[in-house]
Symmetry: C2
Subunit: 192 residues, 2 copies
């Protein structure tokens, strides 16, 4: 079990993950909605794969899990004590939300990005309110030359979809989100 002060999550090797739209995959695409910027092409299925062979399809987005970039030790202890992992049987709905931020964002130094993210936008603390219902995993894409900077992935039970939409609305109203230049909401459900 975790304790708030002493828990350290296990360090895992960064993992390259591919999100492949197409005719196959463990997730059915229910809808694709561009919140800002250009959308993505329609497809019936999404395959989330950890290996190199990506099935052919209209798009493939790549990103890697990595060490944390902004969360402090105290914040991480809180997150670690309440969050749950991916793959819960009741979490039959998922959202893949690729996000691109502006050049102005990436020109900011670390301390200014951190201040905008948490001290002024409360991104981490807003997200914590929706734990453990909303499980998530962040993938970094910008360093791979991908069209998006991040691939955010969320899993939740159907009853929590309203809360998830509320979470999105609150984040999109923050100062941090002024730096978002492209965001697409791909909503999915576990394929039968």
């Amino acid at each position: 079990m975790f304790t708030r002060s002493g828990y350290r999550p296990p360090v895992t090797v960064p993992q390259l993950v591919r999100f492949c739209a197409g005719d196959s995959g463990q997730w059915s695409i229910r809808g694709i909605d561009a919140f800002r910027g250009e959308s993505l092409a329609d497809a019936p299925r999404l395959a989330v794969v950890l290996h190199d062979e990506s099935p052919p399809g209209p798009w493939v987005l790549r990103g890697f899990t990595s060490n944390e970039r902004y969360v402090t030790g105290a914040e991480r202890d809180v997150l670690a004590a309440v969050q749950e992992g991916l793959g819960r049987p009741e979490a039959t709905v998922a959202a893949l939300i690729p996000i691109q931020k502006s050049q102005a964002w990436w020109a900011l130094p670390q301390d200014e990005r951190r201040a905008i993210i948490e001290e002024r936008s409360a991104h981490i603390s807003i997200g914590t309110e929706y734990l453990p219902a909303i499980a998530r995993r962040l993938h970094h894409s910008r360093d791979l030359g991908e069209p998006f900077d991040f691939l955010t992935w969320f899993e939740f039970a159907p009853r929590d979809e309203g809360a998830f939409d509320e979470l999105l609305g609150r984040l999109r109203a923050t100062e941090e989100w002024r730096y978002v230049t492209r965001e697409v909401d791909v909503r999915l459900e576990r394929a039968a």
Copy 2:
């Protein structure tokens, strides 16, 4: 010209760089010395290439340039005002120093890593003392599943090699360096 308070460096797209040991390349390898952990195989030349085709050879190390991870706005203003770029004609000596840090390092949250790097090890301020003589570029490798976490690259004039060695010695004596599990010093000179 720069001003300390207002300068913002141009944002560049992350760039994948390959360091390829072998029989060809613009740098002659003068020596390879393992400071900690396993060394790298000998080779006569090093090619630093920005494209995908890596010439065959005993080893290829890959890393990407990226946004800054620790430097504050104030620190970056100081760096930007005094640092010089790669490729200066008088900088005929180079050092490629691949570095791996421990699992314990990567398990630390952002604020603890920052505190060790600068508040307790003065990494950024020590490095600033050696500007503009020592030009450098940092490449991130860990997220690519590479054997090293960072590929650090330095260029300087032959007369500044003593200062560079002093810089290495000071950094290796810091608390931050206790987390270094592997470090190899590849010393090079521009090939005729």
